[in-house]
Symmetry: C2
Subunit: 573 residues, 2 copies
Amino acid sequence: MTHVHNGAETFKEDIIRSFALAHADRVTRIEGASGFRRADGPLAGKTAVVIGGGSGHFPSYNGVVGPGFADGCVLGDIFASPSAEQVYRVAKATDGGAGVILGFGNYAGDRLNFGLAASRLRSEGIDTRIVYVTDDIASADADHAEQRRGIAGTFTVYKLAGAAAEEGLDLDQVEAAMRKANEATYSFGVAFAGCTLPGADEPLFVVEEGKIDFGLGIHGEPGISTVDWMPAKELAAQLVERILAERPADSGPRVAVVVNGLGATKYEELYVLFGEIAELLIEQGLELVEPEVGELVTSLDMAGCSLSVTWLDEDLERWWTAPADTPAFKRGTAAKSKFETATTTGSTEAAVEADTSSEESRQAAVVVRAALDALDEVVHANQEKLGRLDAIAGDGDHGIGMSRGSAAARAAAQTADGGVQSVLQAAGAAFGDKAGGTSGVLWGLLLAGIGEALGNSEAPDAATVSRAVRQSTAKLQEFSGAGLGDKTMIDALLPFVEELDRQTAAGAGLAPAWRAAAEVAVAAAQETAQLVPRLGRARPLAERSVGTPDPGAVSLGMIVTAVGEAFERGDED
Amino acid sequence: MTHVHNGAETFKEDIIRSFALAHADRVTRIEGASGFRRADGPLAGKTAVVIGGGSGHFPSYNGVVGPGFADGCVLGDIFASPSAEQVYRVAKATDGGAGVILGFGNYAGDRLNFGLAASRLRSEGIDTRIVYVTDDIASADADHAEQRRGIAGTFTVYKLAGAAAEEGLDLDQVEAAMRKANEATYSFGVAFAGCTLPGADEPLFVVEEGKIDFGLGIHGEPGISTVDWMPAKELAAQLVERILAERPADSGPRVAVVVNGLGATKYEELYVLFGEIAELLIEQGLELVEPEVGELVTSLDMAGCSLSVTWLDEDLERWWTAPADTPAFKRGTAAKSKFETATTTGSTEAAVEADTSSEESRQAAVVVRAALDALDEVVHANQEKLGRLDAIAGDGDHGIGMSRGSAAARAAAQTADGGVQSVLQAAGAAFGDKAGGTSGVLWGLLLAGIGEALGNSEAPDAATVSRAVRQSTAKLQEFSGAGLGDKTMIDALLPFVEELDRQTAAGAGLAPAWRAAAEVAVAAAQETAQLVPRLGRARPLAERSVGTPDPGAVSLGMIVTAVGEAFERGDED
């Protein structure tokens, strides 16, 4: 149970403000971003390691920013990816001219948002690499290792990459080091009890009393088995057996071991477990190098713990034992960085481009603004309903996230000058930035993509709108990697696009074509109730979501319906 | 809920063994003791700071052993004082010839055991000082500040004393520094939920859902008020108001601030609270010096937190910001100690004295052994009953503690050579060492004291036994500071002694006199149900103990009854 807060709405901002106040000597908050860089940064000529993900995992990620570890970090809302805009701003402010590694655990929302930020950074000439961590062997089998989630092994992988960068390795070398670290790192976790988000009355998920859930994810993602409680000695044996089963063929005897607690499984317990684990590993001829026992990647007050083992070679061991000096993790004596502080390379504010939009497009933008008003209104009116839907299988934040995004999009559209493209791109950027998470980045991309396809010159007609929606959807699908049947908003969006195409090809006007397509979307959204979501998503889904439609598909159905009604009202005027 | 353990019986030993395995480079386990000293110790000519208390508070106390902090630490069972024997062994092994400071939080059991250890150390020529921490302003009013408990401010006080000792100050100076640190440190805590001991089904105590218990102690000792949940901003204001109300008249603006979490109140929450607190303190013109936000003094997975403020002068600030390098807390760059490792000054095994006991006394020791057999049997038979009695108002460990102690006493008596004194002193030492806690040290002293009074020369008769019991009881009462009506074993022991005196003065033989006195003791034990315990005890007592007799008094009644029956059987033989 989260007891100390000022309400869920301000929780992340309160954490960030307070952390900045507590550690002003070590970290600098990035203006306008929910993230930090080390106080001596940006460092000229140093490969920048920027890590991040949802809040709620302290000391990950802001607790480990500093010499020998991360150069910067970006935080999303509790258990939700930061927005691409936030990632972009932190990376831009942390880059010292030698390029940026973006590191995160393998979750859908993070991959989308960090991926989008990387594209934008590259488009501005900042060489950017992405390395996501896949240490959780419970989340997919060895043949699908690339689909595995990131859990407590993220700590080790970020530490190793941070040390490699501090040594002075260039971008290619740090990227290679971090990939090697990830490939050498294997984790397995168990859970005893769920956590409760700030302001919530119910835990996010529950583990039955007296049971241990093997392989349960750190946000409650489904595990692989539920068993009766067992003594620490047996639990250690189970964890060690699973980890050793994947021991790489070429591994030596030296290992970095992390026994991590998720929040409510305390130090005394973690030490007892570590002792049993260490004895088993030593029996196998392994040599433990500076083991860590404690809370390094938490999940609020979730009860549970994990074992992470990293098979060390000479380089990895040197990076593991290298000094680090961060607010929450210190090792050895971190000397002053050999790099000098760089003058910041540029503003993170987007350049204002001259308005070249046509009068026709500026007129058409009035309809776009009305459509965004309708979008915002329907999302706000259904915020609680969407939250409840999401709470059945997820963390219940779909309503609040969509609501934040749609309000920001509406406001941005009001103040944006120019034609259809300008207004929709401003709205899309604002949506993605303020909503965060997976839905935020997808809706932001969808709106901006439609705008880009429509352009700023012509007054769109039914056929151009239909084509623009189809083009933007195709890009979205490519970006997200989701297909039909994965239980996402795509399951409502693709039928919508098809029907819109069919109607406009048959000569229907925009409003009636859109209305017919919206009806298809709403029906398709309801049908997602029968689906099982794809593996590897960052929320507790599994069987319990069967019977409930996907909240993203449902909100899409609502939104296209409301937008269609706005088009009809426009036709009537 | 404590989920990871191998059973309550081995929990402390498992923690200690595992901690030694994880941090062999930093700490050395003291052979035969449940404690550690820093790996570079003992340090010749350095004032040794030895801290300790019950387990369950990690990183207090083993997590903060190292340069710039504690030289050694000693751990009791969960929330129970270590035995005097354990304290003695750790202090003896840590002393580098310049004397020892014993530091602990102000709890009855710790005061008794550390006090006894100090006497023994002094008797061996090791200058030993005691400084107990009294930072918890909720536990007694300002006029009785010396009765206050130690909570999270212990962290600050130990840190300051450790830094002062590392600077090279002598024993008098470190003692003065630590007293000054304690006088400058004020804490106030709140609780949201209780913790559950390893293996227990029920929490040790509960806080009503949706409520905050102001001033609740870290072992569930009664607080001062229960209020409805309030936002972090309001909670911060309440904590700050209470702390500032006791601001010392001569204090400057510089403060060391610790926002401590008890276990399940997580980092994100602690930072949110810290931010609100910091803003209020800064508004008051105060300057925060290297604040600490985290888990420094925990209570297993208890939900709650506290604010500690230490008013710094130049010395205290230098010690607060001085380097420290321990397993769980590091600050700055701790250089190699200026002191050299000392050769250990001596064995901690007691010297074996030549047996000078008389034949009469050796014969009488047979009766003593039979009495100790009876003691052990009655305690074992009633272990669960005593545990249940203790659980109503305490932590339920009276049964298990007494059971461990009596078994050890019985075994020691079997193997001890010599007369009555030798056997009872061996039994008393074993009882105190193995039982731990408050009852352990008191029963250990009582048995050894009776032995000392009886001597090794004469065969005791009813009058000598009565006098010996009276003398030992008087010493015990002086040592414990408990009087009639404080709801302790003294409430049964004093009436027992009086009746035994009366009976023997009237000419009764030992067995009948003892039986009559035992009946009085049993009745007096039952009458303790009406009493309210004294303030300042380390367990959750308060009103809920009214109606239940004191478990220590009840076990005393049982034991003297069983011993009386053994005497009667002896008479029959």
